[in-house]
C-alpha cells in the first residue's frame, strides 16, 4: 500500500507498539532551552537518572536571555539569571552541548538547529517548545513536548506517542510578489481555524511549497502549532540537501552520500491516502494580517475587520477580541496607526527574512513615533547580516539592532510593549498580553512589518520598491552562505 511521508517516519522510529494507537518512538535529537529545558534537566538529575546519549542532546539560551547589546547573564526577567546559570550548570553536568549566552552560534532553537544541520531529514526531533514543528520543514518528524516528556526522552531516548492522523495541505500555484510563506500559513489558519489541525500530523505539499526556499519552508511549518497540529512537515528534496550540505553537524563524506540516498526515499508515494486533504490556490493570495487575538483572525492587509458572521468566531470571543484590540467591525486594517514594529522570532528572523525586510527599508525611514526593533534569530544570522551591511540599512531606517534571542515575541529578556500599544510583528502569536500586558499585536510577514514601520500604520507592501518574491534569488543566496561550520 502506498505510504505517506509520515507513515515512513513513524515506521522507521517505532521501537514497539504499546497497545492501541500508542507506540514507543525512538528520538534522534533533543533540544532544550533555559525556560523549559532547565527544569527537565534538573528534575532528571534530582531523580538520579542519566541522559542516555548526551551527544544527541543540545541546549540553547534564547527564551530568557537579554537581546540588548553587551548582554551577559543579567536579565529583567524575574529570577531569569537563575534559569540561565542553572541551565548552564545542569547541561555541563549532563555533558551536553550548550549554545551559551556568549557562544558565537547562540540563537533561537528553531533557527540554529537547521542552521547547524542538527535537525536532519528523517530524524525525530523533540524540544520542550511548541514551535518545534518548525524543524519538520527539512523532512524531519519534529514536535513540541512538555518538560516531563523531555525528561523521558533524555532518560530513555524514546517517547510514548499516540499516533496522530494524517493531513495533507497542498498549496498550488505561484505566489505573487510580496506574498510569502507567512501569508500561506495565516491564510490556512484563517480559513480552517486554529483547531483545524488538531489530532493531525500535517504534510505541506504542492507546487507553491516546492518553490519555497528552505528558510521559507521553516516559516510555513513554524505555525503548525497555531493550527493545533501535532506537527508540520515537508518532504526533503534537492533544495533541502543543498541547504544542509557542509553545515557543522551534517553527515560528511561517505555518510553524506548514504544519508542523501536514504533521504530521497522520504516522500509520500503516489496514491497514498491521508485522513484529510486541503487544497489552497495561492495565486490570488494577498499579504495577510491579523485583526484579533487568535492567529485564525487573519485577513488580507487590504481588508477590513470582518463582521461577526464573516469572522467565523462565536459572538463572545468576537466581541472580546474587538474590545481587546480596540477595533470595530468594518474598519479598514490599513488605516490603523502603530506604535511599534518588531522583526524577529523563530517564525521570521532568518537571513532571508532580514534581506527581504532590508530591501523594503533601504533608503527609507521608520515613521515618527514608531519604535522599530530587529532581532536576528541567531548570532550566525547577525554576523551574516552585518557582513552584507543589512544592519546599517536597519539602523539607518531607525530600527534597533539586537543580539539574537526570542526577545519581544513574548517576555524574553523581560521586555514588553506598552499597554494598548499597537504592534505589527513578524511573530506567531497575537494572544492577549503575549507581547506585553494589553499590547495589541498584529502578526504579518517581515515585509509587511517593514512597510508598516515606514508608513506608521498597517500597510500593503506591494507597490513599494524593493519587494521581491519570497522564493527568489535572495533565498537561494541565503542557503549558500549562512551557517557553514
Amino acid at each position: 500500500m502506498p505510504r505517506t511521508l509520515f507513515d515512513k517516519l513513524w515506521a522507521q522510529h517505532e521501537v514497539m507498539s504499546l497497545g492501541g494507537s500508542v507506540s514507543l518512538i525512538a528520538i534522534d535529537r533533543i533540544f532544550l532551552h533555559e525556560r523549559t529545558g532547565s527544569v527537565a534537566l534538573k528534575s532528571l538529575q534530582e531523580a538520579g537518572r542519566a541522559v542516555v546519549d548526551p551527544g544527541r542532546v543540545f541546549c540553547t539560551m534564547d527564551h530568557i536571555v537579554d537581546t540588548l547589546p553587551g548582554r551577559g547573564d543579567e536579565t529583567r526577567v524575574p529570577g531569569g539569571k537563575a534559569f540561565i546559570v542553572e541551565t548552564r550548570e545542569a547541561a555541563a553536568e549532563a555533558g551536553i552541548r550548550v549554545f551559551d549566552v556568549r557562544d558565537p552560534q547562540q540563537g533561537i532553537v528553531h533557527v540554529i538547529s537547521p542552521e547547524l544541520a542538527i535537525v536532519l531529514p528523517g530524524a525525530t526531533v523533540v524540544c520542550p517548545d511548541s514551535h518545534t514543528c518548525t524543524q519538520g520543514a527539512v523532512g524531519a518528524l519534529a514536535w513540541g513536548i512538555g518538560s516531563t516528556e523531555a525528561e523521558h526522552a533524555l532518560a530513555t531516548g524514546t517517547l510514548r506517542v499516540d499516533r496522530p492522523k494524517t493531513m495533507r495541505v497542498r498549496f498550488e500555484g505561484r505566489l505573487a510578489p510580496g506574498v510569502t510563506a507567512k501569508d500561506l500559513t495565516l491564510a490556512l489558519i484563517s480559513r480552517h481555524g486554529s483547531v483545524g489541525g488538531n489530532g493531525y500530523a500535517v504534510e505541506y505539499a504542492g507546487s507553491a511549497v516546492r518553490d519555497l526556499d528552505i528558510e521559507a519552508r521553516l516559516t510555513l511549518c513554524n505555525m503548525a502549532t497555531e493550527f493545533s497540529a501535532f506537527t508540520g512537515m515537508i518532504a526533503p528534496d534537492q533544495k533541502t540537501f543543498d541547504y544542509l550540505q557542509g553545515r557543522q553537524y551534517a553527515p560528511k563524506g561517505e555518510d553524506w552520500e548514504r544519508a542523501v540516498a536514504h533521504w530521497r526515499t522520504l516522500v509520500t508515494e503516489e496514491g497514498a491516502s491521508f485522513d484529510q486533504e486541503i487544497v489552497i490556490e495561492v495565486g490570488e493570495l494577498a499579504p495577510m494580517i491579523t485583526w484579533g487575538t487568535s492567529p485564525q483572525h487573519a485577513v488580507p492587509v487590504t481588508g477590513v475587520v470582518p463582521s461577526l458572521e464573516a469572522s467565523g468566531t462565536p459572538r463572545e470571543a468576537y466581541d472580546r477580541a474587538l474590545q481587546y484590540m480596540g477595533l470595530e467591525s468594518g474598519q479598514p486594517l490599513a488605516e490603523l496607526k502603530i506604535g511599534a514594529a518588531f522583526i524577529g522570532s523563530c517564525t521570521n528572523s532568518r537571513i532571508s527574512d532580514l534581506r527581504r525586510a532590508a530591501s523594503i527599508l533601504k533608503g527609507r525611514k521608520v515613521a515618527e513615533g514608531v519604535r522599530a526593533i530587529c532581532v536576528p534569530g541567531s548570532m550566525t544570522v547577525k554576523r551574516q547580516a552585518e557582513a552584507e551591511g543589512l544592519d546599517q540599512v536597519f539602523r539607518d531606517a531607525g530600527f534597533e539592532w539586537r543580539e539574537s534571542g526570542c526577545s519581544m515575541c513574548f517576555f524574553a529578556g523581560g521586555e514588553s510593549f506598552g499597554a494598548r500599544e499597537r504592534v505589527v510583528s513578524s511573530t506567531n502569536r497575537n494572544f492577549e498580553s503575549r507581547q506585553g500586558p494589553e499590547t495589541r499585536t498584529h502578526i504579518a510577514s517581515p515585509e509587511t512589518v517593514a512597510a508598516s514601520a515606514i508608513a506608521g500604520h498597517l500597510a500593503d507592501v506591494r507597490g513599494l520598491a524593493g519587494v521581491t518574491p519570497a522564493t527568489g534569488a535572495a533565498g537561494a543566496a541565503a542557503n549558500a552562505t549562512a551557517g557553514r561550520g
Binding site: 521501537v15 504499546l18 497497545g19 492501541g20 494507537s21 500508542v22 514507543l24 534522534d28 525556560r35 523549559t36 532547565s38 527544569v39 534538573k42 531523580a47 537518572r49 524575574p78 529570577g79 537563575a82 542553572e86 552541548r97 528523517g122 520542550p128 517548545d129 511548541s130 513540541g144 513536548i145 512538555g146 518538560s147 516531563t148 516528556e149 525528561e151 523521558h152 532518560a155 530513555t156 531516548g157 510514548r160 499516540d162 486554529s194 483547531v195 488538531n198 502549532t225 493545533s228 497540529a229 501535532f230 557543522q248 553537524y249 555518510d255 553524506w256 548514504r258 544519508a259 463572545e316 470571543a317 513574548f410 517576555f411 502569536r429 494572544f431 492577549e432 498580553s433 503575549r434 500586558p437
Partner: protein
C-alpha cells in the same frame, strides 16, 4: 504520580476558546527552575487587579465565593494552546485542579495533563455549555463527577456523558504510573532497535568529538 479514580467537585466555567498557556500562567510568574510554587501565578492576568499584584479581582470566576474549592475547569475549544510550558499544568494541579472538561485540547497541553495526574476530558461544545449553565445555577451544590474508570462525566441532576480516552493515558492516570519507569522496562528492545538503526542510519549517531573540540 498521584492516582485518579473518581472526583466529585465544584466546577468553574472558563468557556473561552483558545485559552492559552500564557493566560494560564504568564511568563513573569515563572520565577524559578521548579515545578512547584506556581499556583499563585495561575491565571494571574485575570485573577488579580494589577500586573504582578496579588489583590484579588472579585469578578474572576475562581475568586467568587461560590466557586471556592474548584477542582474541575470547564473550558472552550483548543484549551491550553500556545506555549508548551508545563508550568500551566503544574500551576493548575498545585491550585487543586484535577480535571479539565473541554471540546478540544492543544496536543502538548493534553500530554502534560496526562503526565501530571490531571484528567483532560473531551466533550462536545454544546454539552460543556449546558453543563456550565447548570453549574452556574448554584456552583457549590451543583457538583460535577468525573469517573475515569467508567469514563463518564455526571451531575447530581442525573445527566451523564461518556468520554473517550485511550487505554495508555487512562492507565497512566488510574495507576498514577511514572512513564519513565515503565519505558525503562523496555531497555532490551530499545537497545536492539538502536543497534540495528545505527547500522542503517550511522549519520544520526553524532560523535561528541565533533562539537567538544
Amino acid at each position: 504520580m498521584e492516582k485518579f479514580d473518581t472526583l466529585t467537585a465544584v466546577a468553574a466555567p472558563l468557556l473561552r476558546d483558545n485559552l492559552d498557556t500564557d493566560a494560564i500562567i504568564p511568563s513573569r510568574e515563572m520565577k524559578s527552575v521548579s515545578k512547584t510554587g506556581l499556583s499563585a501565578g495561575l491565571f494571574a492576568g485575570w485573577r488579580y487587579t494589577a500586573i504582578g499584584g496579588r489583590e484579588l479581582n472579585p469578578n474572576f470566576v475562581l475568586n467568587k465565593p461560590q466557586f471556592g474549592g474548584t477542582r474541575i475547569i470547564l473550558g472552550g475549544s483548543n484549551f491550553g494552546c500556545g506555549s508548551s510550558r508545563e508550568h500551566a499544568v503544574w500551576a493548575l494541579h498545585e491550585y487543586g485542579i484535577r480535571a479539565v472538561i473541554a471540546p478540544s485540547f492543544a496536543p502538548i497541553f493534553f500530554g502534560n495533563c496526562i503526565r501530571n495526574g490531571v484528567v483532560p476530558v473531551r466533550m462536545p461544545a454544546a454539552k460543556v455549555a449546558a453543563l456550565a449553565a447548570w453549574v452556574e445555577q448554584d456552583p457549590a451544590t451543583h457538583r460535577v463527577t468525573v469517573d475515569l474508570t467508567a469514563q463518564s462525566v455526571s451531575t447530581s441532576a442525573g445527566d451523564m456523558h461518556r468520554f473517550e480516552l485511550d487505554d495508555e493515558p487512562r492507565a497512566m492516570l488510574l495507576e498514577g504510573l511514572d512513564a519513565i519507569d515503565l519505558t525503562l522496562k523496555q531497555r532490551p528492545a530499545i537497545a536492539a532497535f538502536r543497534e540495528r538503526d545505527r547500522r542503517e542510519r550511522p549519520w544520526i549517531y553524532l560523535d561528541k568529538a565533533q562539537w567538544t573540540s
